[in-house]
Symmetry: C2
């Protein structure tokens, strides 16, 4: 690389208190790094924005170690190999990596997956054919196990995970109820083939859920929490399964909500209905399910049985505001930043 090239980055300036603000991010530029043995220098083309990153901005230990203040914000990336010191990768190759919010990154070649731009648009490796799609596939099929004729409900249903959950449920013979906010998202759900689409912003979600699921709900794919969960819980059938994938409603919470304390009653419902609540991160299932996922989902996308939407914003600088907007539900489909 020319020594004058700079790597523009966005780093964590401070841990957000509640919703992230511009002050929690710092933009800078440093010299483009060089790859060591077994490594490659990558130029970021597309950056994935995902809700789990909000959790990693906080200090609390969750399923992944938190970021440190000063770290480049993490994220999956589709990148082009610029310089290679690794066997099997050459400049011009397109790879799926984890470069984060920056223009260039140096990564170990072993952590990268080479993408074939002729097989599918490379951005799908960040969405329907990537981590979000696999999250839907593994959580729904390994934990939710929908049976033909059963009813599956999912919130944030136009997001990259939720939209795949509903469509895979239908492929497996179940009814799919999608919950989302606003008219635009509801019509998107109808286009995706959901059997019912409910607006969580309208009154009496519980009553409308009961109407949309007259035989109750057998699988609730949880990625929201909060008021939607409160409305779903009474509709769950005996032996219902709840893959717990995310709790977006809680991500920006700064303290516990007011009482009464309903945690004991939640356990009582788990007991009374023989429910299964199962938290999961997709990587748990990757060893035994990722190959099947890639085969099935590639077929489904190619045949049009699974549709997907991407919400692409140009420019790395817009990542912070786009990220915050996504946490507020402003995106439709998979949120991606086109970096170069």
């Amino acid at each position: 690389m020319s020594t004058t090239a700079l790597n523009h980055r966005i780093r964590l300036a401070a841990r957000p208190h509640g919703e992230p603000t511009a002050d929690d991010f710092v933009h800078d530029a440093v010299e483009v790094p060089s790859p060591g043995p077994g490594q490659v220098l990558l130029r970021t083309r597309y950056l994935s924005l995902d809700p789990y990153v909000r959790g990693r901005m906080s200090a609390a230990k969750s399923y992944a170690a938190p970021m440190e203040v000063g770290d480049v914000i993490v994220g999956g990336t589709v990148s082009e190999v610029v310089e290679s010191a690794a066997d099997g990768l050459t400049p011009g190759d397109t790879v799926l990596g984890y470069g984060g919010w920056q223009e260039y990154s140096v990564e170990d070649a072993t952590g990268l997956r080479r993408l074939d731009p002729d097989a599918a648009p490379v951005t799908t490796a960040l969405g329907v054919l990537g981590m979000p799609g696999f999250t839907a596939y593994a959580g729904l099929l390994a934990i939710g196990r929908p049976q033909p004729g059963e009813t599956v409900a999912v919130a944030a249903a136009t997001g990259p995970v939720g939209s795949a959950v509903g469509q895979i449920a239908r492929i497996h013979g179940a009814r799919a109820i999608g919950i989302a906010g606003g008219e635009r998202k509801l019509s998107e759900l109808h286009e995706l083939g959901f059997d019912a689409a409910l607006d969580h912003r309208a009154p009496d979600l519980a009553g409308r859920l009961a109407q949309a699921a007259p035989d109750g709900i057998d699988v609730y794919f949880e990625n929201v929490g909060g008021a939607v969960w409160d409305a779903v819980l009474p509709q769950l059938n005996e032996f219902a399964r709840v893959p717990v994938c995310g709790l977006a409603a809680n991500y920006n919470a700064t303290s516990l909500p007011e009482g009464p304390d309903r945690s004991g009653r939640l356990m009582g419902t788990v007991l009374a209905k023989s429910l299964t609540l199962r938290g999961f991160i997709q990587r748990e299932f990757a060893p035994r399910m990722f190959a099947d996922f890639l085969r099935d989902m590639t077929d489904w996308v190619a045949s049009g049985r699974v549709k997907y939407t991407e919400d692409v914003t140009e420019g790395l600088d817009r990542a912070p505001e786009t990220f915050t907007g996504m946490l507020r539900g402003r995106n439709l489909g998979k949120t991606i930043i086109q970096v170069s």
Copy 2:
């Protein structure tokens, strides 16, 4: 039967508000009923007292329909056949039935299991070789799935379910931590072979749990809820399994506890640790596991690998006070009323 024989019964006089009192029960005596075709008249010898009955005294629907006010209190029974109008059962036979809190009952022969008094003491059909033993076996093995070297914790550990959970866990190569209240119960746990015994009445249960389970807890068999659950939750390992069998701490609750509302945080922990919470009632597993249970448990009891304690009180009239005492944890082992 002589027409002068009377059937003394105890019926639900009123739904308890909180802890049941004497006024919630009514004692009466009616003529001994006669069996119809396919039925038998049974004389109750032993009556099982079980915590789940408290739930059925309330109006709220749970996994079983509530009792109605006026109903004879329900309960498993070991009884003698007095009069038979059914093939295969003759007077003098001993059977396991569901006669409830009364001296005589008429039951369909198809719902009864004939007991061999020479194979094992007949009272074990109400405890270690009956529903409580099977609850432990099915919940621990089908949901908890303890692996060799893992740590299993159970509360109410001297009860008929808890004591079997710990001993079966050890047979499967896991460490067993028992939680119970008071010195007498702790020494019982040591006699049963538990690796650690903790008093939930002593201060800092969480700290003592952390010491007793330095590698964390992989399976928590939940039959208590409340403060014990609060202490266990932080010690659960990633991928821990929680068979939710009972919530004795909540059974007498008359309102939700004060805030803050910790239900969202509970879901957050399920997600962060990839926990499995699974409510269950033993009957779900009976078709595929009861025969294995009876074979395994009979062997284990005969060989002394599983020990059991029975807490037998004489006289049907003492059932209400014995039941309330059991809910307060006054029993040691399986609570049984010797009726005749």
